[in-house]
Symmetry: C2
Subunit: 656 residues, 2 copies
Amino acid sequence: MAPDLQGMGGGGDDKRRTVHEEVPLVHKVHVPPRGGLVKDVSHGLWETFFHDAPLRQFKGQSKHSKSWLGLKFVFPLLEWITTYTPRMFVSDFIAGLTIASLAIPQDLGYAKLAGVPSVNGLYSSFVPPLVYALLGSSRDIAIGPVAVVSLLLGTLLKQELSPTKQPQLYLQLAFTATFFAGLFQTALGLLRLGFVIQFLSHAAIVGFMAGAAVTISLQQLKGLLNITHFTTDTDFISVMTSVFQNTNEWNWRSIVIGLAFLSFLVLTKILAKKKPKLFWVSAISPLISVVLATLFVFIFRVDKYGVKVVGNIKKGVNPSSADQIFFTGKYVTAGAKIGFVAALIALTEGVAIGRTFAALRDYHIDGNKEMIAFGIMNICGSVTSCYVATGSFSRSAVNYQAGVKTAMSNIVMAIVVLITLVALTPLFKYTPNTILAAIIISAVISLVDFKAAWLIWKIDKFDFLATLGAFFGVFFVSVEIGLLVAVCISFVKILFNVTRPHTARLGNIPGTKVYRNILQYPDATLPHGIVAVRLDAAIYFSNSQYIHDKVLRYLEDETERVAKTGGPRIEYLIVDLTPVTNIDTSGIIAFEELHRILVKRNVQLAFANPGSQVIQKFDSSGYLTTLGSEWIFFSVAEGVQVCSVLLNKSAAERSV
Amino acid sequence: MAPDLQGMGGGGDDKRRTVHEEVPLVHKVHVPPRGGLVKDVSHGLWETFFHDAPLRQFKGQSKHSKSWLGLKFVFPLLEWITTYTPRMFVSDFIAGLTIASLAIPQDLGYAKLAGVPSVNGLYSSFVPPLVYALLGSSRDIAIGPVAVVSLLLGTLLKQELSPTKQPQLYLQLAFTATFFAGLFQTALGLLRLGFVIQFLSHAAIVGFMAGAAVTISLQQLKGLLNITHFTTDTDFISVMTSVFQNTNEWNWRSIVIGLAFLSFLVLTKILAKKKPKLFWVSAISPLISVVLATLFVFIFRVDKYGVKVVGNIKKGVNPSSADQIFFTGKYVTAGAKIGFVAALIALTEGVAIGRTFAALRDYHIDGNKEMIAFGIMNICGSVTSCYVATGSFSRSAVNYQAGVKTAMSNIVMAIVVLITLVALTPLFKYTPNTILAAIIISAVISLVDFKAAWLIWKIDKFDFLATLGAFFGVFFVSVEIGLLVAVCISFVKILFNVTRPHTARLGNIPGTKVYRNILQYPDATLPHGIVAVRLDAAIYFSNSQYIHDKVLRYLEDETERVAKTGGPRIEYLIVDLTPVTNIDTSGIIAFEELHRILVKRNVQLAFANPGSQVIQKFDSSGYLTTLGSEWIFFSVAEGVQVCSVLLNKSAAERSV
C-alpha cells in the first residue's frame, strides 16, 4: 500500500562520501550466498517441527539395526525390557504397590468430580497405564485419572447434560470427549505441534492449578459435610451459599470421621516433608484411612444414621464402550470441543511431569512422542469405559520417591487395580464418602504452590498478575473461565513482547572495544557526533513501526541534549543489528523510511554486524544499494572508528 | 506445577572451583539496584503506550505557552493557520480543485459498492474532510469514501439486510456501523492502542489490497456491461457465472462507451507515470470523461436504448441522520461488529498514507492522535448521512503531486462538493453508470502492486505466502475471508517467531576479541573443551523449552563430534545472553533444569553479558547463588579466557 515514491523523495545521495577511500576497513560483512527457496523453506520447517532431531539416532546405521531402533522408537518398552533385572523388578513392584494404594481411593473420588460412576475411575487406572507402559518414554510417571482434568471434564460435561437426570447420555458424552481428547493428542504429536502447550505460561499454570486445587477442595465439602443438595456450580460464592443454606443436611458423624482422617493424612504429609525417608507413611496413609474408616462404618453401622457410603460398585473388568461413543448426532461437536480442552490440559500436566523427572535422572523425553503415547492411551481408554487419564502429579512424585526404575510400576499398579475390580470392590460398600473427600483434599492441596507463587512475585510482577488472574478466574467463576484468563494473559504478554522490543543506546566501555547499554554501564561513552543504538529483536511487521520511531527518538533526544550543551552536530547514527536475526518486508520498508528521513536531516545511517539473513534481505530488496554497502560495518567498534576519522577530517576541513 | 525437588537433584556442588582465586576477572557484571514495583510497572506501561512521548513538547514550558501548545495539540489546524500565506492558498486551492474533480465521480461509484444511494457518497466527501482539516495532522492526505472500505462495508451490510428490499433499514445500519467505526477509532486513539493495526503484516496487506482491487473491478462489470440481475456475492466464480448467464442483458452501447473511456483513463495514467509533470492530465481525465459521456448520452439519448444512467440525485446539503442510528434493538450488535472491522481497515489505510507522506516531507505524525481525528470525523459523518470515510490512497497521491501545502485543500474540496450538492447534481442525471465503472476500475487497479509483491517474493518466501493467501481469499471467497486469512497468517508468523527463536554457535574471529556465529563466519574458532552459544531472543514461556533443548543439542552435537575425532572432553558451556533482554519465570526454570542436567554431565555452565533485567532476575530467583556468580562473565571473550586457563590447569594437573 506504500505509494509509488519514484521522483518523490530521495535527494542528498550526491553527498555520499566513499568511505573506503578514506578509511580502510579491518573487516567486511559479505552477503552470503543465498540458500534458494527450497533450502530456506525446508530449513525453517525443520527448525519448527524437528529441532530436537528425533530421528538422529538412525543416521548411519545398518538396515538391521535401523529396524530394531525403529521398533524401540515406537515401543520404548523394548528400550529397557531387554536389560531388565529381578532387582529392578523388586523396586518397580514396591513402587507399583505404593501408587496403587494411592490411586484406588483417589480414583473413586476423582470419578465423582468428573460426574461419572466411581467404577469408571478405577477402569481408568487399568487400561491407560498398560498402554502407556508400552508406548511412553517416561520411567517415573504414574498414569491414571487426575484431579484437575476430572474437574474440568465434569464442569464442561455438565454444561451439556445432567449426570443425575441423563446418566447414560452423560457417560456416553464422557467417552466421546475422551476419544476426541486422545485423537487430538495423537494428532498434535504426529504433526509435531507439541509446542502449542508451551503457550500457557508457567505463571498462569501456577495460578490455574492453585485455583483448581482450592475449587476441588471446596467441592469436597459435599462429601465431608454429607450434603445431598449441593450446587453444580464450582465458584466460591455458589459453593459457600450451598453449604450454609443446607446446614440441616450436615451430619456430625460424617464431619468427625472426615476431619479426623484429614488431620491424620495432613500430619503424615508434614512428616514426609520433614523426613523424606518416611515418605511411605504418607503414601500408604490414604489406604490405611480407607480401611479403618470402612471398618468403623461396618462395625458401628453409622450409615444407618445418614453417613453416606460408596455403596455397591459393579464387579468385573472394564466393559467395552466402543458402541457408546457418539460419532454422529448433536453431541459430536460438544464432545470434540470438550475433548480438545481436556486434551490440552492433560498434556500440559502429563508432559511437564515427564520432563521434570527426566531432567532429574538425565534421560531424554521427546514431547511429541509422549503426546502420541498419551493420545493412543486415551483412545484405547475411550473404548474400554475409561475417561481422560494423564500423568498424576502427586502419584508420580511418590513413584519416584519409592524408587521406581521403569514403567513396570504402572503395570504392577494396573494389575492391583485389576484384582480390585474383579474381587475387592464389595469391600468398598461401607467406605464413607467423607473419607474420599478427605483423601482428595490432602492430595490436591499440594497443587497450591506458595513457593512458586512467591518466586514469581520476586522475579516478575507482570507474571504474578497472570498467576492471580488465573487463580481468581477459577476461584470466583469456573475452571473454564480461569483457563481462558490464563490463556488470554499469556497471549497478551506475547503480543506486548512482539510489539515493544527492547532497544538500547550504546556506549564504549573504556579500555575495551566493547559497546554496551549506557543505562546498565553508565561509564560507557561515545565520541561526539555519533549515536549508536542496539535493536534487541528480530524486526517484523508487528514491531517495525515502533523500532523506526524509537531509533528516531534516540536521535532526537541526543540532538536536543547536544543543542543544550552546545556540542557538535550529530552526523552519524550507527544501528547495531547483532541481535536482529531476521527482518521481513515491513522491517525493510521501515528502514527505507528511516534512511529517507535521515538523508533529509543530513545524518548518515550505518549498520553494524547484520546477521546473514538480514544482510541477504538488505541485498535482495535493493536496500543495500540505496544505503551504500560501505555503511555496513563488521562491528560497532569499527563503525565508530571509521565515523570518528570522517568526523575529524570534516572538522579539519571546516577549520581550514 | 514443578514438583518439589528438595533432596531429589543436586550433587556435584562440591566440585565447584572458585574461579576468582585462579583467574582474576577483568570486568565484573554487577546486579543493578532494583527499580521497585511501581517503577518497573510504570516503565513497562510507559514504553507500551507512550514510547513516542507525545507530550514532550510541553515539558518546561510556561503556563501560557502550555495552553497554546495544548490548543495546537488538539487542533493541528492552529499549527499552520497562523503562518498561512496567500501563496500557500494558491497551491492548496489548485490541489483541492484537482482532488474534488477526482472525488466526485469516484464517490458516486463507491457509494454503489457500499450499497448506499450515490448521494451519500457525495455527503461523505463534504463533512469528514472539514472535520479532518480541523483535527488531523497530515497535510497531504485526501479524505473521503475509499474503494476497499466501501466494498468491505457493502459485503458486511448485505449479510444483514438487502439494500434493494430494505433500503431504509440498510442505510440506517450503514450509519450505525459508521458511528461505531468512529467510536472504535476514537477509543483506540484515546487508549493509545494504535499499535493493533500493526498486527496486519505488510505482505498480507499487499495481497489483501490487490484482491480487493480485482474484486472491485469485477464488480464494475455490472455497470460496464449494463447488467441488471447481478449476483450479490463478490467471489470470482459467482461474478463470472452471473456475467455469462446474463449475456442477454449486455448492452453494446454501454460496453463501447465504457471501454472507450477506460482506455482513455488508462492511457492518461500511463502518460502520467512516464512524465510525472503531466500528472494533472490523469488527475482531471475522470472529470473530462464524465462530462463527455454525459453530454453524449444527453445528445444521443442512448439511455432510451437501455444504457443505465445515474438519474436524479437528491439536491441539497447533508441532512441529519442522528435519529436514524440504531442505539437499541437487534441491529446494534451487527452495526458494532461491522463498524469494528471497517474501523480497523479504514485506519490501516488512512494511517499508513499519512505516515508515508509525512516521511516524504519529514514531519511527524502521531498515529494515535490521527486515530482520534479519524474517529471524531466518522462520528460526525454518521450523524450527517455519511458512511465510513478515510484517507484515499489515489487521491492523496494526486494531492501531493498537485503541490498541496496544508489540509486547506480538503476544505477546498469540501466546498466544491458542497457546490455540487446544492447546485450541480441535476447535471449527473444523464451520466451513464458505465463511465463510473470505468473510473473506478482505473482508480483501483493501481492497488494491485506487482512491484511490492515482487519485492516480497525476493525478500521473504513465507511473507509471499501471506500475500498469496490474502489475495486468493478475497478473490475466490470474499473480502471478509481474505481479511481473516491475512490476520491469521500474520498471527501464525508471530507465533512461530516467538516459539522458535534464533540461536547460534559462536566462534572467535581470529585476531579480534569478537565472537560470531560460526555458520556466518566459518573461520571463527574456539579452544577445545569449550562450547559457546548465543541466544537471540528474550526468553519467555513460549520459547524456554525450545531454548533449553537447543542448547543441549549444541552440546550433544559437539560432544559427538569430539568423540569421533578423539579430542578432549567438553568441560565448559558458555551461553551468550547479549540479545536476551528479559527472562520470565519459565525461562529461569528452564535454565535451572539446564544447570541440573549439566551438573550431572560434569559440564560447567557459564553465562556471558546478561542484561540488567536478566541478572536481576537471576539474582532474585536465587539462580545466581545456585550457579555461582563467578560463572557470569562480562563477555564471551572473557569467559573463554577464564575457561581456557582453567582447562590448561586441569590438563597440567592430570599430566602430573
